[in-house]
Amino acid sequence: MVVDTEKDLASGNPTGLWSWITTVDHKRIGLLYGASALIFFFVAGLEALLLRLQLTTPNGTILSADAYNQLFTMHGLTMLLVVVMPVAAAFMNYFIPLHIGARDVAFPRANAFSYWLFLFSVVMLLSSFLLGGAPDGGWFGYAPLSTQLEEFVRMDYYAIGAQLLGIASITASANFIATVFTMRAPGMTLMRMPVFTWMAVVVSFLLIFSLPIFGVGLFQMFFDRNFGGQFFGGTGDPLLWQHLFWLFGHPEVYVLVLPAMGIVSEIFPTFSRKPLFGYPFVVFSGIAIGFMGFGVWAHHMYTAGLGPVAEAGFGVATMMIAVPTGVKIFNWIGTMWGGKVKFTLPMMFAIGFVSLFVIGGLSGVLHSVVPSDYQQHDSYFVVAHFHYVLFGGGVFGYVAGAYYWYPKWTGRMLDEKLGQWHFWLMLLGFNLTFAPMHILGLNGMARRTYRYPEGLGWEFWNQVATVGSFIIGISFLFFAWNLIKSRKDGRVAGNDPWDGRTLEWSISSPPPVHNFDEIPVVQHVDDFWYRKYATDDEGRAVRIPDVTGGTIAAETDTGGEDAHEEDMHMPSPSYYPVVSAFGIVFMGYGLVYLPGGWVAVGIGTLITMWGVFGWSLEPVTRDADHD
């Protein structure tokens, strides 16, 4: 995403490429995350389309088995770690400070470091396609297959690349937690925070607790591959890797979907013109999902032979996750109930999210029925299930968020007509692609197979799925074009185009670099709404006449004792985060190509040390030297 020059000059933002590289502004970092994730989304989509082309006919010959295996591995890795997590990070970066009335995140330079480490790690992972082959052991990297072929560096790219992405995510999560716990505006108690920010907190904790487990597993895999370790292969236990992986991998599913649930929890109240139904229940069901997410990892391992006691326990625990999820869905319906539902684009995608997520959730309950999972496991039924959850749920939710907040990012509205095309094509294409996979799975088609024989009755539904996948691809071309075109041609949004409820709508679009001229004092959930509306005797909202939404900060008597612009301490730009991240990824490349790579590890270490020293010695704020 490019800077809009006039606007940035007007808001005192420096411009140019260098200013983006050295930026520590949470909004810019958010946009960088979003733009990168969108580009990688098209990469992952391309990978998926190639996979679908190969499967259109039995005994397909478009891809070799080797290429197919690399592509499905990278499709999973890219979508989960490189698209959906960063797109969630984009929303969190941009909106956590705005939602809680803060001027930036707690550690702005660490925030920049997270982004650059993420970006460089992804470049490293994708570069493996050109440097001897991409990871081909599945995104789940089951040992001992993943530790078997030491001749190839492919799974070393996986072990190091995923490790570095994990470091970037842990840093970002710690940053978000610190921000939410220490930088909330006066009166912004935890139970007044927007649900999106709540879900961001839950997700950050999930990542902080789950990623280190994955990290340990990845190090063990790396040792097995390079230093003769026997953790999983040799005399080791292959199931140990599965436990470590799914102890991360299952919470990861909630990491991907909870922010989307947070987003639609913002959208439903706005376009129903009612508060969120049962706010505390929505928040606590999100926390409950997070907790329970750590207790169900072995439902990915029902066929691995854990024994009937473990299988029964995990089966029942898994079923129970449906309960808090159901609570959220009922509350969203309760929010619309009795409201004035406006079919704006964000609202359409949000309703799509709920509908498709229910389908994915129900097939999820079927998996928790262990005896039936013995059949469904690793069949296309599972592929259908998690695409309904992660694409029908996750991606629809994030796209809803993009339509909802685009005006805040750019000051302009997305085009309605293009958006309608996007929504209907995506809905159609999505269901054409993934609904048939339920049937294929129940008919015995196994996942991750690059070809299938004729005569098993799988041809027709595979063709339908391929057609559907291309319709999804086309729908996203509409989206991309819309994002580009509307930046210049879109209708000017103003501060508060949706008559919003939360603090980000009280400031200009795009927001000034310091976000809030005066830090707001918060008295309600949805504080901004209550500055615009009172309630009459029947409980209906009544507009408060003299406040016109948007210029609010100047008119309310909220931030009297707060700092004014002249003594605001905004962090200064810094290139040390980029240097540190670059050095670490340099080390990563070295580790992939051991033993010769030790040289690169050494050089990378020096670069990282330069970055870290420079970082710790430079002054923090623009005017710190004058203080």
């Binding site: 066929t303 299988e311 690793d378």
Partner: protein
């Protein structure tokens, strides 16, 4: 059912409560209802608990290991990328067990207990028509029960497929399960335990020579000789958790001619397909023979031995004659 109810509720809500043109009134600002919240928490819990009991019972039933004199015991070893079966209770006079590959033959109405392990990476044994899948894990023993009874569709052989991603040729590690009447099964067992004699016709004898020079480095096959039997190739075994599994370098080719497929259930067993295979195996099934290390027991596929077309046709004559 649940989907229909929830989806109906969503559609009802978005139609009933849509913003109508010319209606500028604001909705009542309700914040929630604790009774409703409790209700829609408890109802799903009750529904789930009620399906929970049969599920738990089902798990224990399926996971029970079949045992007893009437149970057919078969040991399964998963390989990249083929299946090896050993009928441990079926032996000839010398004590040699019945070993075959990729096509499992079972009698109808008899419980079959599969005792499984893997020689390399994780595989998963899956014949959808007969049972759910079960992972086949190196360093571990797993069990599953198969039975083909009146509830099983009669159109055997039933196709199966490895269900755990096991590397390059994961799509081509398939298998077939043949279901026979008890009498036919007994006849099949007799046939398997009575191997072919050393061939005497010119083509087959020439093929036999090639087999001994080239194929027998990895493939075993049993032939009748001097009133007894002889193994032409290596016989290897691994021990996992106190159970001894046969773990050959390549599929046992005794009585190969009567199998309906080869290449782990991937190709129909015809002279034409065999000729393609023998000319360059990796061209029709993806494998990595260049990484083979026979002393270490690491086999990732059959190399191209650059056989001449005569050698190929003689070998085919030999193999198809073994039935």
């Amino acid at each position: 059912m649940v989907f229909v109810i929830v989806q109906t509720a969503i559609i009802y809500v978005i139609i009933r409560f849509r913003a109508r043109k010319g209606d500028d009134t604001e909705p009542v600002q309700s914040h929630g209802n604790t009774k409703l919240e409790i209700l829609w928490t408890i109802i799903p819990v009750v529904i789930l608990a009620s399906i929970g009991y049969p599920i738990v019972k089902g798990i224990f039933d399926i996971r029970a290991i079949a045992d007893g004199p009437d149970v057919l015991q078969v040991q399964v070893t998963g390989h990249q990328w083929w299946w090896e079966f050993e009928y441990i209770d079926l032996t000839d006079e010398t004590g040699r067990t019945l070993v075959t590959a990729n096509e499992l033959v079972i009698p109808e109405d008899v419980e079959v207990n599969l005792t499984m392990t893997s020689a390399d990476v994780i595989h998963s044994f899956w014949v959808p028509i007969l049972a759910g899948k079960r992972d086949v894990v190196p360093n571990r023993v797993s069990n599953m029960t198969l039975i083909a009874d009146s509830a099983t569709p009669p159109d055997a052989p039933h196709p199966g497929q490895c269900a755990e991603y096991c590397g390059l040729a994961h799509a081509d590690i398939r298998l077939k399960v043949h279901v026979r009447t008890q009498a036919d099964f007994d006849a099949w067992v007799d046939g398997q335990l009575t191997p072919a004699a050393i061939p005497t016709t010119e083509t087959e004898a020439s093929g036999y020579e090639t087999f001994n020079i080239t194929c027998a480095a990895c493939h075993n096959a049993t032939v009748a000789e001097d009133g007894g039997t002889t193994d032409l190739g290596p016989v290897r075994a691994i021990e996992v958790d106190g159970v001894t599994f046969i773990s050959s370098l390549a599929p046992n080719l005794t009585n190969f001619g009567e199998r309906t497929t080869f290449g782990a259930g991937t190709f129909d067993n015809t002279a034409e397909h065999l000729a393609e295979w023998l000319a360059d195996p990796s061209s029709i099934k993806p494998m990595r023979p260049e990484l083979n290390d026979i002393p270490e027991g690491r086999i990732l596929g059959m190399p191209n031995f650059n056989l001449s077309s005569d050698e190929i046709s003689n070998l085919i004559a030999l193999l198809e004659g073994w039935d």
